[in-house]
Symmetry: C2
Subunit: 217 residues, 2 copies
Protein backbone atom coordinates (compact mmCIF):
# COMPACT_ATOMS: atom_id res chain seq x y z
CA UNK A 1 0.00 0.00 0.00
CA UNK A 2 1.30 3.44 -0.85
CA UNK A 3 1.00 6.05 1.85
CA UNK A 4 0.80 9.58 0.58
CA UNK A 5 1.22 11.30 3.92
CA UNK A 6 4.60 12.89 4.57
CA UNK A 7 5.99 11.70 7.87
CA UNK A 8 7.99 14.23 9.86
CA UNK A 9 10.83 13.13 12.13
CA UNK A 10 12.43 15.34 14.77
CA UNK A 11 16.11 14.75 15.50
CA UNK A 12 16.46 16.11 19.02
CA UNK A 13 19.90 17.08 20.25
CA UNK A 14 19.36 16.84 24.00
CA UNK A 15 22.42 18.65 25.32
CA UNK A 16 21.82 22.15 26.68
CA UNK A 17 25.28 22.65 28.18
CA UNK A 18 27.08 25.87 27.25
CA UNK A 19 29.99 23.87 25.83
CA UNK A 20 28.60 20.79 24.13
CA UNK A 21 29.23 18.15 21.48
CA UNK A 22 25.56 17.21 21.06
CA UNK A 23 24.72 19.14 17.86
CA UNK A 24 27.62 17.65 15.86
CA UNK A 25 26.75 14.11 17.02
CA UNK A 26 23.05 14.67 16.21
CA UNK A 27 24.05 15.96 12.75
CA UNK A 28 26.18 12.84 12.22
CA UNK A 29 23.28 10.55 13.25
CA UNK A 30 20.89 12.37 10.90
CA UNK A 31 23.45 12.11 8.09
CA UNK A 32 23.69 8.33 8.58
CA UNK A 33 19.89 8.01 8.55
CA UNK A 34 19.44 10.11 5.41
CA UNK A 35 22.22 8.17 3.65
CA UNK A 36 20.61 4.86 4.67
CA UNK A 37 17.25 6.05 3.34
CA UNK A 38 18.76 6.43 -0.13
CA UNK A 39 19.76 2.76 -0.05
CA UNK A 40 16.77 1.42 1.91
CA UNK A 41 13.65 3.56 1.39
CA UNK A 42 11.11 3.59 4.23
CA UNK A 43 8.43 0.85 3.94
CA UNK A 44 5.03 1.64 2.44
CA UNK A 45 6.42 4.39 0.21
CA UNK A 46 6.42 6.79 3.14
CA UNK A 47 7.88 10.21 2.32
CA UNK A 48 10.09 11.51 5.12
CA UNK A 49 11.11 14.96 6.27
CA UNK A 50 13.64 15.65 9.01
CA UNK A 51 13.87 18.53 11.43
CA UNK A 52 16.81 18.96 13.78
CA UNK A 53 16.00 20.49 17.16
CA UNK A 54 18.95 21.71 19.24
CA UNK A 55 17.54 22.10 22.75
CA UNK A 56 20.53 24.25 23.67
CA UNK A 57 19.55 26.77 20.99
CA UNK A 58 15.83 26.43 21.83
CA UNK A 59 16.60 27.87 25.25
CA UNK A 60 13.52 26.79 27.23
CA UNK A 61 13.72 28.01 30.85
CA UNK A 62 13.26 25.57 33.71
CA UNK A 63 9.57 24.52 33.63
CA UNK A 64 7.48 27.54 34.56
CA UNK A 65 3.96 26.43 33.57
CA UNK A 66 1.36 26.26 36.37
CA UNK A 67 -0.73 23.48 34.79
CA UNK A 68 -0.26 19.70 34.51
CA UNK A 69 0.75 18.99 30.87
CA UNK A 70 -1.35 15.80 30.69
CA UNK A 71 -4.45 17.93 31.38
CA UNK A 72 -3.73 20.34 28.49
CA UNK A 73 -4.95 19.48 25.02
CA UNK A 74 -3.76 22.27 22.74
CA UNK A 75 -0.91 24.80 22.51
CA UNK A 76 -3.34 27.54 23.55
CA UNK A 77 -3.81 25.81 26.90
CA UNK A 78 -0.35 26.84 28.08
CA UNK A 79 0.47 30.10 29.86
CA UNK A 80 3.78 31.04 28.21
CA UNK A 81 4.52 31.64 24.53
CA UNK A 82 7.75 29.58 24.72
CA UNK A 83 5.61 26.59 25.78
CA UNK A 84 3.04 27.20 23.05
CA UNK A 85 5.81 27.33 20.41
CA UNK A 86 7.39 24.14 21.75
CA UNK A 87 3.97 22.46 21.84
CA UNK A 88 3.29 23.34 18.18
CA UNK A 89 6.77 22.19 17.11
CA UNK A 90 6.46 18.77 18.79
CA UNK A 91 2.80 18.28 17.82
CA UNK A 92 3.75 18.70 14.14
CA UNK A 93 6.24 15.80 14.30
CA UNK A 94 5.35 12.12 13.88
CA UNK A 95 8.42 10.47 15.41
CA UNK A 96 11.70 11.27 17.10
CA UNK A 97 15.39 10.46 17.21
CA UNK A 98 16.71 11.46 20.64
CA UNK A 99 20.48 12.03 20.70
CA UNK A 100 21.84 12.68 24.18
CA UNK A 101 24.77 12.66 26.55
CA UNK A 102 24.50 11.07 29.99
CA UNK A 103 24.90 13.23 33.09
CA UNK A 104 25.67 11.44 36.37
CA UNK A 105 24.14 8.16 35.19
CA UNK A 106 20.89 9.89 34.22
CA UNK A 107 19.11 12.09 31.70
CA UNK A 108 20.55 15.63 31.32
CA UNK A 109 18.24 18.05 33.13
CA UNK A 110 17.80 20.22 30.01
CA UNK A 111 16.46 17.27 28.01
CA UNK A 112 14.19 16.10 30.86
CA UNK A 113 12.93 19.67 31.18
CA UNK A 114 12.01 19.92 27.48
CA UNK A 115 10.27 16.52 27.67
CA UNK A 116 8.30 17.34 30.86
CA UNK A 117 6.95 20.61 29.40
CA UNK A 118 4.52 18.60 27.25
CA UNK A 119 2.52 15.38 27.35
CA UNK A 120 -0.15 14.84 24.70
CA UNK A 121 2.21 16.17 22.02
CA UNK A 122 4.52 13.14 22.61
CA UNK A 123 1.98 10.46 23.39
CA UNK A 124 1.76 7.43 21.08
CA UNK A 125 4.61 8.53 18.80
CA UNK A 126 7.53 6.21 18.00
CA UNK A 127 11.09 7.15 18.92
CA UNK A 128 14.66 5.87 18.97
CA UNK A 129 17.45 6.73 21.41
CA UNK A 130 21.13 7.35 20.67
CA UNK A 131 23.36 8.10 23.68
CA UNK A 132 27.07 8.87 23.91
CA UNK A 133 29.59 8.90 26.75
CA UNK A 134 32.59 7.28 28.40
CA UNK A 135 30.61 4.07 28.83
CA UNK A 136 28.11 4.73 26.04
CA UNK A 137 25.50 6.41 28.22
CA UNK A 138 23.60 3.18 28.93
CA UNK A 139 22.01 4.48 32.16
CA UNK A 140 20.66 7.59 30.42
CA UNK A 141 19.35 5.38 27.60
CA UNK A 142 17.50 3.14 30.08
CA UNK A 143 16.09 6.12 31.98
CA UNK A 144 14.97 7.74 28.70
CA UNK A 145 13.31 4.54 27.47
CA UNK A 146 11.37 4.41 30.77
CA UNK A 147 10.34 8.09 30.74
CA UNK A 148 9.31 8.18 27.07
CA UNK A 149 7.92 4.66 26.77
CA UNK A 150 6.39 4.31 30.24
CA UNK A 151 5.75 7.82 31.53
CA UNK A 152 4.66 9.42 28.25
CA UNK A 153 3.23 6.32 26.53
CA UNK A 154 5.34 6.77 23.42
CA UNK A 155 6.35 3.75 21.27
CA UNK A 156 9.83 2.56 22.27
CA UNK A 157 12.03 0.36 20.11
CA UNK A 158 13.59 -2.57 21.95
CA UNK A 159 17.21 -1.52 21.41
CA UNK A 160 19.04 1.76 21.96
CA UNK A 161 22.33 2.81 20.34
CA UNK A 162 25.12 3.66 22.79
CA UNK A 163 28.22 5.40 21.44
CA UNK A 164 31.25 4.82 23.68
CA UNK A 165 34.13 7.30 23.56
CA UNK A 166 37.12 5.37 22.23
CA UNK A 167 39.52 7.29 24.48
CA UNK A 168 40.06 10.17 26.89
CA UNK A 169 41.05 12.49 24.02
CA UNK A 170 37.51 12.18 22.59
CA UNK A 171 35.96 12.78 26.02
CA UNK A 172 38.10 15.92 26.34
CA UNK A 173 37.04 17.14 22.89
CA UNK A 174 33.37 16.50 23.80
CA UNK A 175 33.79 18.35 27.10
CA UNK A 176 35.35 21.31 25.28
CA UNK A 177 32.83 21.24 22.42
CA UNK A 178 35.63 20.71 19.89
CA UNK A 179 35.15 19.06 16.49
CA UNK A 180 35.16 15.26 16.75
CA UNK A 181 35.80 14.67 13.04
CA UNK A 182 32.49 12.81 12.63
CA UNK A 183 30.85 13.69 9.28
CA UNK A 184 30.29 12.65 6.61
CA UNK A 185 28.57 9.28 7.05
CA UNK A 186 30.25 6.33 5.39
CA UNK A 187 33.78 7.61 5.99
CA UNK A 188 36.18 6.78 8.79
CA UNK A 189 35.10 8.31 12.10
CA UNK A 190 35.59 7.43 15.76
CA UNK A 191 32.23 5.65 15.77
CA UNK A 192 32.55 4.02 12.34
CA UNK A 193 31.61 0.65 13.88
CA UNK A 194 28.31 2.02 15.24
CA UNK A 195 27.00 3.39 11.93
CA UNK A 196 25.30 0.10 11.09
CA UNK A 197 23.65 0.02 14.56
CA UNK A 198 22.21 3.48 13.93
CA UNK A 199 21.00 2.49 10.45
CA UNK A 200 19.49 -0.78 11.73
CA UNK A 201 17.66 0.95 14.58
CA UNK A 202 16.51 3.67 12.19
CA UNK A 203 14.96 1.07 9.86
CA UNK A 204 12.93 -0.24 12.82
CA UNK A 205 11.76 3.29 13.56
CA UNK A 206 10.90 3.81 9.86
CA UNK A 207 8.81 0.61 9.92
CA UNK A 208 7.00 1.82 13.04
CA UNK A 209 6.35 5.22 11.41
CA UNK A 210 5.05 3.54 8.24
CA UNK A 211 2.67 1.35 10.26
CA UNK A 212 1.31 4.39 12.07
CA UNK A 213 0.96 6.35 8.81
CA UNK A 214 -0.90 3.46 7.21
CA UNK A 215 -3.33 3.22 10.14
CA UNK A 216 -3.96 6.97 9.97
CA UNK A 217 -4.97 6.95 6.27
Amino acid sequence: MTVSKTVRVGVISGSTRVVRAGPQIAAWVRDIIEKDLKQTPAPGGVALEFETIDLGALGLPLLDEPGIPAHIGTAEGYTHEHTRAWSRQVAALDGFVFVTAQHNWGIPAGLKNAIDYLYNEWRGKPFMVVTYGGHGGVHAAAALQLVLGGGLKMLALKETVNLTYPGKDVFDKCARGQPLGLPPAGTATIWQDRQEDIAKTWRELAASLATKAEKAT
Copy 2:
Protein backbone atom coordinates in the same frame (compact mmCIF):
# COMPACT_ATOMS: atom_id res chain seq x y z
CA MET B 1 32.70 7.07 71.61
CA THR B 2 31.35 10.60 71.81
CA VAL B 3 31.59 12.66 68.65
CA SER B 4 31.76 16.38 69.27
CA LYS B 5 31.26 17.43 65.64
CA THR B 6 27.84 18.77 64.73
CA VAL B 7 26.47 16.95 61.71
CA ARG B 8 24.42 19.03 59.29
CA VAL B 9 21.61 17.46 57.26
CA GLY B 10 19.98 19.12 54.27
CA VAL B 11 16.31 18.32 53.68
CA ILE B 12 15.95 19.00 49.97
CA SER B 13 12.48 19.66 48.57
CA GLY B 14 13.03 18.73 44.93
CA SER B 15 9.95 20.20 43.29
CA THR B 16 10.49 23.41 41.33
CA ARG B 17 7.01 23.55 39.77
CA VAL B 18 5.16 26.85 40.09
CA VAL B 19 2.30 25.09 41.87
CA ARG B 20 3.76 22.41 44.12
CA ALA B 21 3.15 20.29 47.18
CA GLY B 22 6.84 19.52 47.77
CA PRO B 23 7.63 22.01 50.56
CA GLN B 24 4.76 20.88 52.80
CA ILE B 25 5.69 17.20 52.31
CA ALA B 26 9.38 17.97 53.00
CA ALA B 27 8.36 19.86 56.17
CA TRP B 28 6.29 16.86 57.26
CA VAL B 29 9.22 14.47 56.67
CA ARG B 30 11.58 16.75 58.63
CA ASP B 31 9.01 16.97 61.45
CA ILE B 32 8.86 13.16 61.69
CA ILE B 33 12.66 12.93 61.75
CA GLU B 34 13.06 15.58 64.46
CA LYS B 35 10.32 13.95 66.53
CA ASP B 36 11.99 10.53 66.16
CA LEU B 37 15.33 12.01 67.25
CA LYS B 38 13.79 13.01 70.58
CA GLN B 39 12.88 9.36 71.20
CA THR B 40 15.90 7.73 69.52
CA PRO B 41 18.97 10.01 69.63
CA ALA B 42 21.53 9.57 66.84
CA PRO B 43 24.26 7.00 67.61
CA GLY B 44 27.66 8.10 68.96
CA GLY B 45 26.22 11.19 70.63
CA VAL B 46 26.15 13.01 67.28
CA ALA B 47 24.62 16.47 67.45
CA LEU B 48 22.39 17.19 64.47
CA GLU B 49 21.30 20.35 62.71
CA PHE B 50 18.76 20.47 59.89
CA GLU B 51 18.48 22.85 56.97
CA THR B 52 15.54 22.77 54.59
CA ILE B 53 16.32 23.65 50.98
CA ASP B 54 13.36 24.40 48.72
CA LEU B 55 14.76 24.16 45.19
CA GLY B 56 11.74 26.06 43.88
CA ALA B 57 12.65 29.04 46.05
CA LEU B 58 16.38 28.64 45.30
CA GLY B 59 15.59 29.43 41.66
CA LEU B 60 18.68 28.04 39.90
CA PRO B 61 18.47 28.55 36.13
CA LEU B 62 18.99 25.64 33.77
CA LEU B 63 22.71 24.70 34.04
CA ASP B 64 24.75 27.55 32.55
CA GLU B 65 28.27 26.71 33.73
CA PRO B 66 30.88 26.06 31.01
CA GLY B 67 33.00 23.65 33.06
CA ILE B 68 32.62 19.99 34.04
CA PRO B 69 31.61 19.95 37.76
CA ALA B 70 33.78 16.88 38.51
CA HIS B 71 36.83 18.91 37.44
CA ILE B 72 36.06 21.78 39.82
CA GLY B 73 37.30 21.60 43.41
CA THR B 74 36.05 24.76 45.14
CA ALA B 75 33.15 27.20 44.89
CA GLU B 76 35.52 29.77 43.36
CA GLY B 77 36.03 27.45 40.38
CA TYR B 78 32.54 28.19 39.05
CA THR B 79 31.68 31.06 36.71
CA HIS B 80 28.35 32.21 38.15
CA GLU B 81 27.59 33.47 41.65
CA HIS B 82 24.40 31.35 41.84
CA THR B 83 26.60 28.26 41.35
CA ARG B 84 29.16 29.40 43.91
CA ALA B 85 26.38 29.99 46.48
CA TRP B 86 24.86 26.56 45.75
CA SER B 87 28.31 24.96 45.99
CA ARG B 88 28.96 26.51 49.42
CA GLN B 89 25.50 25.51 50.68
CA VAL B 90 25.88 21.85 49.67
CA ALA B 91 29.56 21.63 50.71
CA ALA B 92 28.59 22.70 54.26
CA LEU B 93 26.15 19.78 54.64
CA ASP B 94 27.10 16.26 55.73
CA GLY B 95 24.09 14.30 54.54
CA PHE B 96 20.78 14.70 52.74
CA VAL B 97 17.11 13.81 52.79
CA PHE B 98 15.77 14.13 49.24
CA VAL B 99 11.99 14.61 49.08
CA THR B 100 10.63 14.57 45.54
CA ALA B 101 7.71 14.04 43.22
CA GLN B 102 8.01 11.84 40.14
CA HIS B 103 7.59 13.40 36.69
CA ASN B 104 6.87 11.02 33.80
CA TRP B 105 8.45 8.04 35.58
CA GLY B 106 11.66 9.98 36.18
CA ILE B 107 13.40 12.65 38.25
CA PRO B 108 11.88 16.15 37.97
CA ALA B 109 14.15 18.26 35.73
CA GLY B 110 14.54 20.96 38.39
CA LEU B 111 15.94 18.47 40.89
CA LYS B 112 18.23 16.83 38.32
CA ASN B 113 19.42 20.31 37.34
CA ALA B 114 20.33 21.26 40.93
CA ILE B 115 22.14 17.92 41.36
CA ASP B 116 24.10 18.18 38.08
CA TYR B 117 25.38 21.69 38.90
CA LEU B 118 27.84 20.16 41.40
CA TYR B 119 29.90 17.00 41.88
CA ASN B 120 32.58 17.01 44.58
CA GLU B 121 30.18 18.78 46.97
CA TRP B 122 27.93 15.66 46.95
CA ARG B 123 30.52 12.93 46.68
CA GLY B 124 30.81 10.40 49.52
CA LYS B 125 27.93 11.83 51.57
CA PRO B 126 25.05 9.64 52.78
CA PHE B 127 21.48 10.33 51.71
CA MET B 128 17.94 8.99 51.92
CA VAL B 129 15.15 9.32 49.36
CA VAL B 130 11.45 9.99 49.97
CA THR B 131 9.21 10.13 46.89
CA TYR B 132 5.49 10.77 46.51
CA GLY B 133 2.98 10.23 43.71
CA GLY B 134 0.01 8.27 42.40
CA HIS B 135 2.05 5.08 42.56
CA GLY B 136 4.52 6.30 45.19
CA GLY B 137 7.11 7.59 42.72
CA VAL B 138 9.07 4.32 42.62
CA HIS B 139 10.64 5.02 39.21
CA ALA B 140 11.92 8.44 40.33
CA ALA B 141 13.27 6.81 43.51
CA ALA B 142 15.18 4.19 41.50
CA ALA B 143 16.53 6.80 39.07
CA LEU B 144 17.60 9.02 41.97
CA GLN B 145 19.33 6.14 43.78
CA LEU B 146 21.28 5.43 40.57
CA VAL B 147 22.24 9.06 39.91
CA LEU B 148 23.25 9.86 43.50
CA GLY B 149 24.72 6.48 44.44
CA GLY B 150 26.26 5.54 41.09
CA GLY B 151 26.83 8.76 39.17
CA LEU B 152 27.87 10.95 42.10
CA LYS B 153 29.38 8.25 44.37
CA MET B 154 27.23 9.22 47.35
CA LEU B 155 26.29 6.66 50.02
CA ALA B 156 22.84 5.23 49.25
CA LEU B 157 20.68 3.42 51.80
CA LYS B 158 19.17 0.17 50.54
CA GLU B 159 15.53 1.23 50.89
CA THR B 160 13.64 4.31 49.72
CA VAL B 161 10.34 5.59 51.15
CA ASN B 162 7.54 5.90 48.58
CA LEU B 163 4.40 7.80 49.59
CA THR B 164 1.40 6.75 47.50
CA TYR B 165 -1.53 9.15 47.16
CA PRO B 166 -4.48 7.42 48.83
CA GLY B 167 -6.94 8.85 46.27
CA LYS B 168 -7.55 11.23 43.38
CA ASP B 169 -8.57 14.01 45.78
CA VAL B 170 -5.03 14.04 47.23
CA PHE B 171 -3.49 14.03 43.74
CA ASP B 172 -5.69 17.01 42.86
CA LYS B 173 -4.65 18.87 46.03
CA CYS B 174 -0.98 18.17 45.24
CA ALA B 175 -1.43 19.35 41.65
CA ARG B 176 -3.04 22.56 42.92
CA GLY B 177 -0.53 23.06 45.72
CA GLN B 178 -3.33 22.98 48.30
CA PRO B 179 -2.81 21.99 51.97
CA LEU B 180 -2.75 18.22 52.41
CA GLY B 181 -3.37 18.34 56.16
CA LEU B 182 -0.03 16.64 56.90
CA PRO B 183 1.58 18.12 60.02
CA PRO B 184 2.15 17.64 62.83
CA ALA B 185 3.95 14.28 63.01
CA GLY B 186 2.32 11.65 65.22
CA THR B 187 -1.23 12.72 64.40
CA ALA B 188 -3.59 11.34 61.79
CA THR B 189 -2.54 12.25 58.23
CA ILE B 190 -3.01 10.69 54.80
CA TRP B 191 0.40 9.01 55.11
CA GLN B 192 0.08 8.05 58.78
CA ASP B 193 1.10 4.47 57.91
CA ARG B 194 4.37 5.62 56.31
CA GLN B 195 5.63 7.62 59.31
CA GLU B 196 7.40 4.57 60.76
CA ASP B 197 9.07 3.88 57.36
CA ILE B 198 10.43 7.43 57.33
CA ALA B 199 11.66 7.14 60.93
CA LYS B 200 13.23 3.71 60.28
CA THR B 201 15.03 4.92 57.15
CA TRP B 202 16.13 8.06 58.98
CA ARG B 203 17.72 5.95 61.76
CA GLU B 204 19.79 4.16 59.09
CA LEU B 205 20.89 7.52 57.69
CA ALA B 206 21.73 8.74 61.23
CA ALA B 207 23.89 5.62 61.77
CA SER B 208 25.68 6.27 58.48
CA LEU B 209 26.26 9.93 59.44
CA ALA B 210 27.59 8.88 62.87
CA THR B 211 30.03 6.40 61.31
CA LYS B 212 31.33 9.07 58.95
CA ALA B 213 31.63 11.63 61.78
CA GLU B 214 33.56 9.12 63.91
CA LYS B 215 35.99 8.38 61.09
CA ALA B 216 36.54 12.11 60.55
CA THR B 217 37.52 12.78 64.19
